[in-house]
């Protein structure tokens, strides 16, 4: 059974100008011990998909459709009253499902000691004393590579460097051995050298724990190093999904192909020009129901701006939603 199963999830944000459809009909699964990469540019809905699953959408956001199951247990907001959902999620968050956030400088509470923040999820979900929780916290800090955890426990976030804070955030996520860990661009806000260290840590932890990990990023290079499978998101939809090999060596969607041509490879001997994708992502406010990438796609056809393409299955693991794969469009994509 999949650790996390999301089916036809849609999320909207109500604004004065209308509904912003941030997530549109997204489905995916994460198995035990698997790392799923979710790639897309800013505003593609990748973070909001995760906030929908965690039930942490901001006030005007709402999951309008879809089923979410964690380890077989239904946690779709539509099946509970708001009050029941909140108390259910309080028992799930940090326990079955935990999140690693983007910016370590802003996600730790500046006025609480590191120890207080680290033992909080342990005390929330386990029937242990404060001393036992602290012992567990020290063990966690060792695990994520923080030297002299006994003294660090009594310090405040401002006494930690960015990389060290991110390790603390990772330790908080690991505190209750969650079934699913969602890492929302965990390296974006860090220096390049620290990025590598944190990625190493996550890759190392991946082998040690058997949680499913979802890695959100807009950096394909990051994904290549640790992900088993990859979902490419664009305009609130998953446009292509496959194993890392399938995505990197046999990309089908023009957007994926565009993304891959934006990666520089220092090992290549020939100088290759990078090709940025012209244009900007679609406005998700009152978005029309046709392929979201059509307006920027070099190979766009008439049909692309009329209807949403259907998903085509290339292999057991590889799917792509693009009109170019339609039998009538043969040869147009070359």
């Amino acid at each position: 059974m999949a650790m996390l199963e999301v089916n036809h999830l849609s999320t909207e944000f109500k604004t004065e100008n209308g509904a912003v459809k941030a997530v549109r009909d997204v489905s995916f699964k994460v198995e035990k011990g698997e790392v799923l990469g979710i790639v897309g540019e800013s505003g593609s809905g990748k973070s909001q998909t995760m906030f929908s699953i965690m039930g942490l959408l901001s006030g005007n956001g709402e999951v309008t459709e879809g089923d979410i199951k964690i380890d077989g247990k239904d946690i779709s907001p539509k099946n509970y009253s708001p009050k029941d959902y909140e108390s259910l999620m309080s028992s799930i968050r940090g326990n079955d499902m935990a999140m690693i956030f983007q910016d370590p400088m802003t996600f730790l509470n500046p006025v609480l000691k590191i120890g207080t923040q680290l033992i909080e999820p342990i005390l929330n979900h386990n029937d242990v004393s404060k001393q036992e929780a602290e012992a567990r916290a020290i063990e966690l800090m060792r695990k994520v590579g923080i030297p002299s955890p006994e003294t660090r426990l009594n310090q405040y976030p401002f006494e930690f460097s960015g990389g060290m804070r991110q390790r603390i955030i990772i330790a908080i996520a690991l505190a209750c051995n969650p079934k699913i860990i969602i890492a929302d661009e965990p390296t974006t806000a860090l220096d390049v050298t620290i990025q590598a260290q944190v990625l190493d840590l996550i890759a190392h932890l991946k082998d040690e724990i058997d949680s499913g990990i979802i890695m959100i990023t807009h950096d394909l290079g990051v994904v290549a190093s640790i992900c088993d499978r990859i979902n490419i998101m664009y305009g609130g939809k998953v446009v292509e999904s496959g194993t890392a090999d399938e995505i990197f060596y046999d990309p089908k969607h023009p957007y994926t192909i565009g993304l891959l041509s934006c990666i520089s490879n220092p090992e290549e001997k020939e100088k290759k020009e990078l090709h940025p994708i012209p244009g900007s992502p679609p406005d998700l406010l009152n978005i029309e129901n046709y392929c979201p990438f059509a307006d920027r796609c070099e190979k766009a056809m008439k049909i692309c701006k009329m209807r949403m393409p259907e998903e085509k299955q290339y292999s057991n693991t590889h799917t792509c939603s693009c009109w170019l794969s339609h039998p009538l469009a043969q040869g147009k994509g070359e």
Partner: protein, 305 residues
């Protein structure tokens, strides 16, 4: 921390020196004299009184004499009610005012924070509107009007509560409410805006992602951060409440220091004016320092240097 406090105390003394000097000369510039014509009919008596209080000497000499007395801790004695020391006025007026001030302060802090938090966190719009209406009234309606209104409604018409003096606990209710309405309104507005800001912060999301229930997130993670601007306001506000309000003390016939202060100004009772001003100055400086120390205790990032 210790160095910081010593430094602040030294700065406090300099502030007091400037305050005393400015008050001294302003007082001398103002027309009038503590010796009324009815009381001192003969010029000899007037001259004798002036000589007793050094008022016959040049103004600079008076200043030096007063400051050297002050440096020895001697505030002198009243020029109008001879035989009463200035300390006597402070000793009798201040405790009355302070008792009322403490009650009003507690009321302000609890009332203001709960009102502001309710306005910020409630999902029902009318609660937010109600809190903000109360806050706007509190800021804009002058306290004497509220005092009069409370006296007429609850004292005179309904006869529920006493409104003269401060003899019984029930006597505190009306003056404390009139005194604290303005600070309640200010604290409510500060708490509301600061809490709304804090609830948007990333660390609130992280706290919720740990499975911490909403109420606990507010109390443990949000309130502590949101209280910083409130504490900065509370220090001077407490000093203001302790130093008394002439209007309120007059309306409820409370023999506090605020009333003493105004009486001595109208009487041109030079020594009492000086003494009370310096005393109130000390209180205000002390509470400003205390609120800074408290802020640093709550927010570890604030380094007191």
């Amino acid at each position: 921390m210790f160095k910081y406090i010593v430094k602040r105390v030294l700065i406090g003394f300099i502030t007091l020196f400037i305050l005393a000097t400015a008050t001294f000369f302003l007082m001398k510039i103002t027309p009038g004299s503590p010796f009324s014509a009815e009381k001192y009919k003969s010029p000899e008596a007037l001259a004798a009184a002036k000589a007793k209080y050094n008022l016959d000497k040049p103004i600079m000499e008076q200043y030096v004499l007063y400051m050297s007395d002050l440096a020895h801790g001697d505030l002198g004695e009243s020029m109008v009610h001879q035989g009463n020391t200035v300390w006597y006025y402070i000793k009798h007026g201040f405790p009355v005012t302070a008792r009322l001030g403490v009650v009003a302060f507690i009321l302000s802090v609890f009332g203001g924070i709960s009102l502001g938090a309710a306005a910020a966190l409630s999902k029902k719009k009318w609660i937010n509107n109600l809190c903000m209406i109360v806050a706007t009234i509190g800021v804009s309606v002058p306290s004497f009007l509220i005092a009069m209104l409370l006296i007429i409604v609850f004292g005179v018409e309904l006869k529920w509560l006493p409104f003269v003096g401060l003899t019984k606990p029930a006597n505190y209710i009306l003056p404390a409410i009139s005194l604290s309405l303005y600070p309640i309104a200010m604290i409510a507005r500060l708490t509301r805006s600061s809490l709304l800001e804090v609830m948007k912060q990333d660390y609130i999301i992280l706290a919720r992602s740990k499975g911490t229930p909403y109420k606990k997130v507010v109390i443990k993670h949000a309130l502590k951060n949101a209280m910083l601007p409130v504490i900065t306001y509370c220090g001077p506000m407490f000093a203001f409440l302790l130093t008394g309000s002439f209007v309120i003390e007059n309306a409820f016939s409370i023999p506090g220091i605020g009333k003493t202060f105004i009486t001595c100004v109208t009487d041109r009772d030079y020594t009492v004016i000086m003494g009370v001003t310096i005393f109130l100055g000390i209180i205000i400086i002390t509470f400003n320092l205390l609120s800074d120390i408290l802020s640093a205790m709550i927010d570890p990032r604030i380094k007191l240097k």
